[in-house]
């Protein structure tokens, strides 16, 4: 050992050989420990008694359903939550090695999208039979679990009920300029556009969308939650949402803070659309039996009662004959447009028109 090194060792009080090698080893060990600590319970999804659920549905609903399923069957469910469209893109990118077994969404277009790519496996006919067939996939690849309806939300201080449009086509009327709030990019708005397209054709729909863009200028929002809270607070006079956003906001901030109301379009109007939330099993899944059991559970009576129960999703259960009670308008009393899920498809035609009009 050279004298210089020894002096330095003395001053720092440690062996001069404690160098990069030891530090690197310590660093690697720390990293490995950290990584294993971060992996959490991910290693349990290999057994045949567990499935992985990719859920685009609201977490509260999903959690209660998953808990009930685990209790009833003993099959463990690992849940992954994200926006349904990102999950759809993720499933496509993951390809044949996707860890997902079941995909549960808020709207039907992502399921139709995956079905078109041939990534879904056929649902058991007994499961499909639990819900009315018009709310299931036309090809039988996914099953409808719950539904929502499109409504108008309005602030009575800014606009009275009589001034509201009765038809969605009236939204183009210039008298609503500056009053309309819209989330054009929301997957909830697309079905309405598809419905208008089906009823009135391309040219009229584009004209209608351009007029809407002018009326909603300054009140274009990224999502329906913002539309709901802004109409409620008085930033905008009225907007189009799915009914459950209003009920959920009311549950969150209390009935005393609610200054808005909801109103329906005229019966069978193109704007009066039912959105179906559904689930499917993936073809790439290695737990097909367990996945099918989960789908069957979702449309069974216990699950539908969870969905219909209060302080939860405020969505409409559509299977096994379960109905919601107040405060919502009963499902059987709704009079929606006759557009089918097959017509709604993936919504690509609607997206093209929304782009053309400059809303997207």
């Amino acid at each position: 050992m050279r004298k210089g090194n020894w002096l330095m060792a003395r001053r720092w009080g440690r062996a001069p050989r404690m160098t990069a090698a030891t530090l690197a080893a310590a660093g690697l060990m720390a990293a490995a420990t950290g990584c294993s600590a971060l992996s959490g319970s991910a290693s349990t999804s290999g057994s045949s008694n567990s499935i992985t659920l990719y859920s685009g549905q609201h977490p509260q609903t999903t959690q209660k359903l998953v808990a009930a399923f685990e209790k009833a069957t003993g099959i463990k469910v690992s849940v992954r939550s994200d926006d349904e469209d990102v999950l759809a893109a993720q499933i496509v990118t993951e390809g044949g090695h996707s860890p997902a077994d079941v995909f549960y969404t808020e709207n039907s277009p992502p399921l139709e999208f995956l079905q078109a790519k041939g990534l879904l496996s056929v649902v058991r006919s007994s499961t499909l039979a639990a819900a009315p067939s018009k709310y299931n996939s036309p090809q039988g690849d996914w099953v409808g679990v719950s539904a929502r309806v499109s409504v108008l939300i309005y602030n009575p201080r800014l606009i009275s009920k009589s001034q509201l449009p009765t038809s969605v086509m009236q939204l183009a009327d210039p008298k609503y300029q500056g009053k309309l709030a819209l989330a054009a990019g929301e997957t909830d708005f697309q079905p309405i556009v598809t419905s208008v397209l089906r009823a009135h054709g391309t040219a009229a729909t584009v004209k209608w969308l351009s007029a809407i863009k002018a009326n909603a200028a300054g009140h274009l929002y990224p999502d329906n939650e913002t539309v709901t809270s802004d109409v409620n607070s008085g930033s905008a006079a009225f907007g189009i949402i799915n009914q459950y956003y209003w009920y959920r906001l009311r549950a969150e901030i209390g009935a005393g803070a609610i200054h808005s109301k909801i109103a329906f379009f005229a019966p069978h109007d193109p704007g009066y659309v039912i959105d179906v939330s559904g689930a499917a099993a993936l073809k790439s899944s290695s737990h097909q039996a367990a996945a099918q059991r989960f789908l069957a559970f979702l449309v069974s009576r216990p699950a539908q009662e969870i969905i219909g129960g209060h302080s939860l999703s405020y969505e409409y259960p559509i299977a096994s004959g379960v109905t919601t009670s107040a405060p919502e308008t009963p499902f059987s009393q709704l009079q929606p447009n006759s557009i089918t899920l097959g017509d709604l498809g993936t919504g690509s035609a609607a997206v093209t028109l929304l782009r053309q009009a400059g809303l997207l």
């Binding site: 950290g34 990584c35 971060l38 319970s41 509260q60 990102v86 759809a88 990019g185 300054g218 997207l360």
Partner: protein, 543 residues
């Protein structure tokens, strides 16, 4: 005394009179002639890893056909949104440059009171996620809307990206040059502009580069104030059209824009190298006495932190107090915090480690191809996190059969890739100040190259390394979109758990997570301030 081959060609021995000139010239030539093979190999490997998202973009975009892509890109709405993005980027970058530099100068170089606290508070806004900022601003003032609102909100969110590198640079600056300039009759303002700012130019430009790139990929402006940018189109393609190929085609346009930004920064930076005058020992610059200007400076700092921190924190507290009684179950707060901290530490460490070879190559051994290598690593900052996560998902699926997908190491790698440019700027700024001659002295004393690197170079770039580490750590804490795709199922970070509550409208349950995120961010900021506060015992620094 052993002499390295480099010194063999020298004339007079070092230390003898007249030795400085030819010795340094010869060393310079020899240094440039020697090709750092290991360094180049390491840098190429890192650049290849960072190029993965770009390759993914090209593969996906080509999948939808050139015709469809062209129709998508050349729409009137695209031009309008591009103009919005460019407008926002230019204005925010300029504002951040001014605010970041001013704050860095006030805190590092003046005697404004409470410097240690400001040093921490000024950095924390970087760790506040956009979705938390949206709570506060949108609900408080309705005139925060449109372009004006987007500029205010975005500037307050990203100015720390300029502050951190400039502060590290100012902290390690050589005061000798300023003194020489003053002694030569240059006025105070002129000295400040030409010398102080000139010395920090690399750091300022680096910070501006980061801000510009981040603004290109920024989606938060729309979410918060309804100001549509080009990035909105990319997300629309995924959200509404389910067209990942189209989204990737649009993302390539962003990459092109970022190339323009890189070229602009490169030309502004120039080729000048920073040199030190006089003795090579580190001297602490004397703090500038503000006198009457203390009040406005203090007021400025209070306003800055009040707006950038106070509004989001205030709204979180409001939601905690008034939120509903939801019964959503989730990962516990300590668990989420620990997970987030671990991910942050490991990713920041990896990113800084990765940035070292590239920075060393760029600063110590500049050259045409190597410069290109280094510049190419910045492109990843202009890509949305979703794209990077999907890129890694794609490559693990195709080439590894799904092995390693949705595991912790892959997510750590994803974070390191996403925030690599932040680390690179921090390390480069400090490395540019570290004098090469000190390395040469160490080599001449017989130390092997690696030891010189660890004991001399890294020590000198200490502030830059810590700044780089902290920048990445802060960014990782708030990252959401890539996390949701790549995190192991069942594991939650603070950001992802916050998101789960927020999408459920359970704001009361979400707010505490946001507050903890902000608190966790204060830790590296505090470390940064404490560890490198050299003049703590210096009487000149008192008052």
């Amino acid at each position: 005394m052993t002499s390295s081959p480099v010194l063999a060609q020298r004339g007079p021995e070092p230390g003898q009179p007249g030795a400085d000139g030819p010795v340094f010239v010869a060393a310079d030539k020899a240094r440039r002639a020697r090709r750092p093979r290991a360094l180049i190999a390491a840098a190429m490997l890192i650049a290849a890893v960072l190029a993965l998202p770009l390759i993914f973009l090209l593969i996906e975009a080509s999948g939808s056909g050139a015709g469809a892509d062209a129709r998508l890109i050349f729409r009137p709405l695209t031009a309008e949104l591009l103009w919005n993005t460019v407008r926002l980027t230019v204005v925010v970058t300029a504002l951040c440059a001014v605010i970041g530099t001013a704050a860095a100068w006030c805190i590092e170089r003046t005697n404004v009171p409470g410097r240690k606290i400001w040093a921490v508070l000024v950095v924390v806004p970087l760790a506040i996620p956009d979705f938390v900022v949206s709570f506060g601003w949108a609900s408080l003032w309705s005139w925060i809307h449109g372009f004006r609102g987007a500029v205010i909100v975005m500037t307050l969110a990203v100015y720390p990206l300029v502050y951190l590198p400039v502060a590290a640079s100012l902290r390690g600056a050589d005061p000798g040059q300023e003194e020489v300039a003053r002694s030569l009759g240059s006025g105070r303002v002129r000295t400040f502009v030409r010398i102080t700012l000139g010395q920090a130019r690399g750091a300022i430009l680096g910070g501006c580069l980061l801000v510009a790139m981040v603004m290109l990929a920024e989606y938060g402006a729309f979410e918060i104030v309804g100001y549509q940018t080009f990035t909105t189109e990319i997300f629309t393609e995924i959200n509404v059209a389910f067209s990942l190929p189209a989204a990737c085609a649009l993302a390539l346009v962003l990459v092109l824009l970022s190339l323009v930004v890189l070229a602009a920064e490169g030309s502004l930076r120039g080729r000048g190298r920073i040199s030190r005058s006089g003795a090579l020992a580190q001297r602490v610059p004397a703090p500038y006495r503000l006198g009457k200007a203390r009040i406005p400076a203090l007021a400025g700092l209070i306003a800055l932190t009040g707006l950038s921190l106070g509004v989001p924190v205030g709204s979180c507290l409001y939601w905690m107090a008034s939120g509903g009684r939801d019964s959503l179950t989730g990962v516990s707060m300590p668990m989420a915090a620990l997970t987030t901290a671990l991910y942050g530490l490991l990713s920041a460490g990896l990113a800084t480690l990765m940035a070292l070879p590239v920075a060393l190559l760029a600063v110590r051994h500049p050259g045409g191809a190597r410069r290109f290598l280094e510049r190419s690593t910045y492109l990843v900052l202009a890509m949305p996190g979703v794209v990077i996560a999907l890129a890694l998902s794609y490559f693990t699926e195709r080439y590894l059969g799904g092995f390693g997908y949705q595991t912790a190491p892959l997510l750590i790698l994803a974070y390191a890739i996403m925030f690599f440019p932040l680390a690179l700027v921090g390390v480069k700024a400090s490395l540019a100040r570290a004098p090469v001659s000190l390395d040469e002295v160490a080599r001449s004393l017989g130390q092997p190259r690696l030891k010189v690197l660890v004991r001399v170079t890294l020590r000198l770039t200490g502030p830059g390394l810590v700044a780089a580490f902290c920048l990445v750590f802060l960014s990782v804490i708030t990252e959401l979109t890539a996390t949701l795709i790549l995190i192991p199922t069942g594991v939650q970070t603070l950001a992802s758990q916050f998101w789960v509550y927020e999408t459920n409208l359970s704001y009361g349950q979400a707010a505490p997570f946001a507050l903890v995120m902000i608190a966790v961010a204060a830790i590296p900021s505090w470390v940064l301030g404490r560890f490198f506060d050299r003049g703590a015992a210096d009487p000149r620094m008192m008052t």
